[in-house]
């Protein structure tokens, strides 16, 4: 095209980023890579390999080793050997290594960015301006945490060998989110990158080698899901950290059930993007580009469900369509490209099939008039409007550049629609009203809420989900918890329950269940005789009733002020004195005193924004008591949960339910609202499975080893949080389990 023609047309032309250095790096390795184990690159033990392709050209980039059992064994054993010395090295020296890694990545930033774009298909603009800078920031931030560990997390020790399995959508960034905190806290890692996108992890391995990281601290084994399974199942692994699909998350939860492995999951989402009528609508529409057309929409927290207030819906949709027409899809290495290639044909097919289903179910589809490139795997930005919550595309994660839109009438309805999903990863709110923003932010079930912004990330702010979006956080102090073992509690066991058991009564007593604020006869009509007394034999229907009572009481109880909850708990402690059990009274008094002290914090993020953390209740918590401390454990756990705004269904000690039953009359005279504190007696085997499988239970704490594995295994259907404990627990630990962190980002400025 001549200059005159361009002058008339004002077209962008192409602006390709050179890939020579990245191609040379691949060439220098003969386009063949082994695993990185024990500080050096090794060939696959059984010589199996697979090819990694470039999504924008469908051409082979390199051949990678397929990790087998032998490879995983070698990696885990290298990590085990290294763990002691790495921890004993101390925080400051570990921090220096993390700092060196950050510096090295920064020095080779463009190589990482180009390689990532080649391998993943995402635009160079994103890898250059977002992925790699965030990676660097993550290592710097955690270099600091390594040094600060001793003072900030006193008594904390590493978990051990961490198996880390990461997805293909942000290959190096997800590596950083996993590796940096693990290393900072003195753990060693065996990491498996996604099979579609392993190259930057291998370049990262070279950096580890270059900075002299002790062999075995970081091990990278490439391969597919089978390799991942080998890591999950390996007995030498102490913790699994996984980011990926909810489906695989469930498999991992099942596989690790009963093994004692710590687990953190960062899974899928269907995040709402709410535009209120009083928002800066142009900015809200522009935000959508970063929400759903960022990384081709292959983002776990993509704002994929657009909720628009009816009064501005037509205007917003017209603006969205106009904006979509300006997006450019094409060669990811072109600096003027907004949307690159979809990572693999299998994903492309899934996106196309879901869009077709959406249209079949009645959605109106809009795609810009221009065409995508024919070579490589591309999908155009797509808007499905006129979608109802019952449509498939409104419920399932599409993981592509597809936005579904629906409308709402009031902010109350917006919250209901937003929360009407099994997921709870992130949400965006657009409004210029400070009242509305904070009100809605507090009501959304999501680990991260962005106000007048979207997809903001920082190493200082923990990222992770509620509900089926997983558990555990990555980033910030809240993320370190996943990689630290806390010191054991020094709390004493109780002997008071013996006193209660010894109380004698001359008239026969009737012990029922305690559900919805009332003593209720067991549904079964049967009793169990324990220590010469009859107790209600709870069954699945009693569990159902108790959960229902707990659910309906939960939001009201959580809405009570922390001071209000404290008053209720203090009064409970006061009345417990009548039982004459001082240590139990003290434990409830301690919990009461903490009600108004689980403060959140404000993170120091590197932008003009308030990023605040609040500790929110988990919801409905099922508690399965052990038999060792039938009174104090029961009270410590249940009251800890309640103090934070949760409601509970407690399965009392099977061997000695009497202390729990004695509490009924104290609860009845207390100010604890009906349904907040529910107590069941009976056989664990008959009740715990129902509790663990119940979709409306948000967490199960199990202190009875006989059903622990079952609890973990059965938690998968709604991925409820599980806590397998034994013995006395530190109050901070209990309150930590009773809360989940929500991060709210509010950029400000007038």
């Amino acid at each position: 095209m001549s200059i005159l023609e361009i002058y008339e047309e004002m077209s962008y032309g192409t602006a390709p980023e050179g890939a020579e250095v990245a191609q040379k790096w691949l060439g220098d390795h003969g386009r063949t890579f082994g695993h990185f184990i024990g500080g050096r690159f090794v060939l696959a033990a059984e010589g199996k390999s697979f090819e990694t392709l470039s999504p924008s050209t469908a051409k082979v980039l390199a051949t990678l080793a397929q990790g087998t059992a032998q490879d995983v064994d070698a990696a885990v054993s290298a990590a085990s050997v290294a763990r002691q010395t790495w921890w004993e090295l101390g925080g400051y020296p570990r921090g220096k290594f993390l700092y060196a890694i950050a510096r090295q990545i920064q020095k080779h930033a463009r190589l990482f960015a180009v390689l990532e774009s080649l391998d993943n298909g995402k635009p160079i603009r994103e890898t250059r301006d977002l992925d790699i800078p965030l990676v660097v920031r993550h290592f710097y931030h955690h270099a600091g945490w390594a040094d600060a560990m001793e003072t900030e997390l006193p008594g904390g020790t590493p978990v051990g060998v961490c198996g880390q399995i990461i997805p293909w959508n942000f290959p190096l960034l997800m590596l950083a989110w996993k590796v940096a905190p693990a290393l900072a806290m003195g753990n060693t890692v065996v990491l498996k990158p996604a099979e579609f996108t392993s190259l930057t992890a291998l370049l990262f391995a070279e950096i580890c080698d270059h900075v002299g990281l002790p062999p075995g601290v970081v091990n990278i084994v490439t391969g597919d899901g089978e390799t991942g399974r080998l890591i999950v199942d390996h007995p030498g692994v102490d913790k699994i950290a996984f980011t990926g699909s909810t489906e695989v998350g469930r498999i991992i939860r099942k596989a690790t059930a009963g093994t004692g492995k710590k687990l953190s999951l960062e899974l899928g989402g269907k995040s709402p993007y709410i535009i209120f009528e009083d928002s800066d609508i142009d900015s809200a529409v522009e935000g959508l580009v970063d929400a759903i057309w960022f990384n081709q929409g292959q983002v776990c927290c993509a704002g994929s469900r657009l909720l628009i207030q009816e009064s501005v819906a037509d205007r917003v949709l017209a603006k969205v369509k106009a904006r979509m027409g300006k997006l450019r899809v094409g060669d990811p290495l072109d600096k003027s490209i907004d949307i690159g290639a979809i990572v693999a044909p299998v994903q492309l097919e899934r996106i196309a099939a879901l869009v077709k289903q959406g249209v079949d179910e009645g959605a109106d589809m809009f795609q810009p008039a221009w065409n995508c490139p024919s070579e490589g795997w591309f999908y155009p930005p797509t808007l499905l409007s006129n979608v109802s919550p019952s449509a498939t595309v409104a419920q399932v994660e599409i993981f592509g550049p597809v936005l579904v839109a629906m409308t709402f009438r009031t902010h109350k309805e917006a919250v209901e629609l937003a929360n009407n999903t099994p997921y709870g990863l992130a949400a965006s709110i657009w409004t210029e009203s400070v009242n509305l923003a904070h009100d809605v932010a507090s009501k959304l079930k999501a680990g991260t809420v962005w106000v007048n912004s979207t997809n903001l990330f920082d190493a200082a702010s923990g990222f992770g989900g509620f509900r089926e979006s997983g558990y555990g956080r990555e980033g910030g102090k809240e993320g370190l918890v996943e990689y630290v073992r806390h010191p054991k509690s020094t709390r004493l066991g109780d002997d008071e329950s013996a006193k209660i058991a010894a109380l004698s009564h001359s008239i026969d007593r009737t012990h029922k269940l305690y559900v919805g604020g009332k003593q209720a006869r067991p549904d079964s009509g049967y009793s169990l005789t324990i220590n010469g007394q009859e107790f209600g034999r709870g069954n699945r229907k009693d569990v159902r009733n108790a959960v229902e009572a707990a659910r309906s009481a939960q939001s009201g109880w959580a809405a009570n002020s922390s001071h209000g909850r404290a008053q209720v708990m203090f009064y409970l402690a006061e009345n417990l004195q009548t039982l004459g059990t001082e240590s139990a009274v003290q434990s409830v008094f301690s919990v009461a005193s903490r009600c108004d002290k689980m403060d959140g914090s404000a993170h120091s993020v590197p932008m003009r924004a308030l990023c605040y953390t609040v500790n929110e209740p988990v919801g409905v918590i099922g508690i399965v008591c052990g038999d060792e401390r039938p009174l104090n454990e029961f009270l410590e756990l249940a009251c800890g949960a309640i103090a934070m705004g949760n409601t509970v269904v407690v399965v009392a000690s099977e061997a000695n339910p009497l202390p729990a039953v004695e509490i009924y009359r104290i609860l009845e005279t207390s100010d604890i609202p009906s349904g907040v504190f529910n107590i069941l007696t009976g056989l664990r085997k008959e009740m715990v499975p129902t509790l663990a499988e119940h979709e409306d239970v948000d967490a199960v704490w199990c202190f009875s080893p006989d059903v622990a594995t079952e609890v973990e295994r059965m938690s998968v259907s709604n991925l409820k949080q599980t806590w397998i404990g034994s013995g006395p627990q530190d109050i901070k630990t209990i309150l930590g389990h009773a809360t989940q962190v929500k991060n709210v980002w509010v950029p400000y400025g007038e």
């Binding site: 361009i6 002058y7 032309g13 800066d280 142009d282 003027s336 007048n452 924004a609 950029p747 400025g749």
Partner: protein
């Protein structure tokens, strides 16, 4: 759309006649500064114009420049020099090497104080380059109202076909939208056939929300262009301010069908900045707004930097200012 269609469209750009003041509309304008700044910051990173395309775009930028001198020490001599440069903005040997002679590039207009209008009109006679005059008590806009109106009329009479007026900032700061509307409507009337560019002096309006609202009122009152700055405020044309203003232009067109032009002025000194502004216009408003019928850049030193970049494109060598004829 083909190039021919586009030209057809451009030749038919209908002048914005203005509409009655719509206070509900003004009231509904919401601007979120952080979000605007984020878009403004990432926009230049989302588009990159290189090589031949960059040459064409820089020539396009030249064609959109309102080459300006607004010094208290202006004389007929330096204004004549400026006009000569306006007609031949780039060394002809460079244009030849670049294969860009046929474009016949020249600047969008020459912008001067009233006292220099007749000098400029004479110097530019036959070139087709319009003369723009700053008026209405420029730069503060605080002289007596009738005097400001008369000033416009005098400049039009002297041959200025474009009038860059300033508004009373106090009307914006006190949210007296009626007074602002009436003032601009009166200036528009005084312009007659001359085109009215309304300078909002955005650096003195306090908030981006005020910038957005003032933009809307100016268009309702019949502005042909809205313009950021006089060049005399401490903060001049910035991309966030530009984004707010062009989005108002977009909404105004959507509501009324009239296309209003845009002129950032002050602080635009580098070739890269001129590309960023063109990208902003193309992305937010569309191809009609990357032509001088609807886009101008008020600048005095920008041209020199663009010349150096064109030199680099032609020779492969980084250039120096002294190799390009000064205005």
């Amino acid at each position: 759309m083909s190039v021919q269609d586009l030209h057809g469209l451009l030749n038919n750009i209908q002048r914005n006649p203005g509409i009655p003041l719509d206070l509900d509309w003004v009231d509904s304008i919401r601007i979120n500064r952080s979000a605007v700044e984020r878009r403004a910051a990432t926009l230049p990173a989302r588009r990159s114009v290189k090589k031949k395309n960059q040459v064409a775009w820089l020539l396009r930028a030249i064609s959109c420049i309102d080459l300006t001198t607004l010094g208290g020490d202006d004389t007929p001599g330096n204004v004549q020099r400026l006009c000569a440069k306006a007609k031949r903005p780039v060394r002809s040997d460079l244009l030849e090497t670049l294969g860009a002679e046929s474009i016949g590039v020249r600047v969008g207009a020459v912008c001067v104080y009233h006292a220099m209008v007749s000098t400029a009109v004479k110097a530019l006679a036959g070139s087709g380059i319009p003369v723009a005059a700053v008026a209405a008590g420029f730069p503060h806009g605080l002289s007596p109202f009738q005097q400001r109106v008369d000033e416009i009329k005098a400049s039009v009479a002297a041959g200025a076909s474009e009038i860059d007026i300033v508004i009373t900032r106090a009307h914006v700061l006190t949210h007296d939208w009626r007074a602002l509307y009436d003032e601009i409507a009166a200036f528009r009337e005084a312009c007659g056939e001359a085109h009215l560019k309304t300078i909002l002096a955005t650096g003195e309006l306090g908030t981006l929300t005020n910038v957005g609202k003032a933009s809307a009122v100016a268009m309702m009152a019949g502005a042909d262009f809205i313009k950021t700055s006089t060049g005399k405020e401490s903060v001049n044309a910035t991309l966030p301010v530009g984004l707010v203003m062009v989005r108002q232009i977009r909404d105004y067109e959507a509501q009324t069908g009239f296309k209003v032009g845009y002129k950032p002025a002050g602080g635009i000194r580098t070739a890269k900045q001129s590309l960023d502004w063109l990208i902003l216009m193309k992305e937010e408003l569309g191809d009609a707004w990357v032509r001088n019928e609807l886009f101008r850049i008020g600048a005095s030193s920008l041209l020199s930097d663009i010349e150096r970049q064109l030199d680099h494109a032609a020779t492969g060598h980084y250039s120096a200012y002294n190799r390009h004829p000064m205005p």
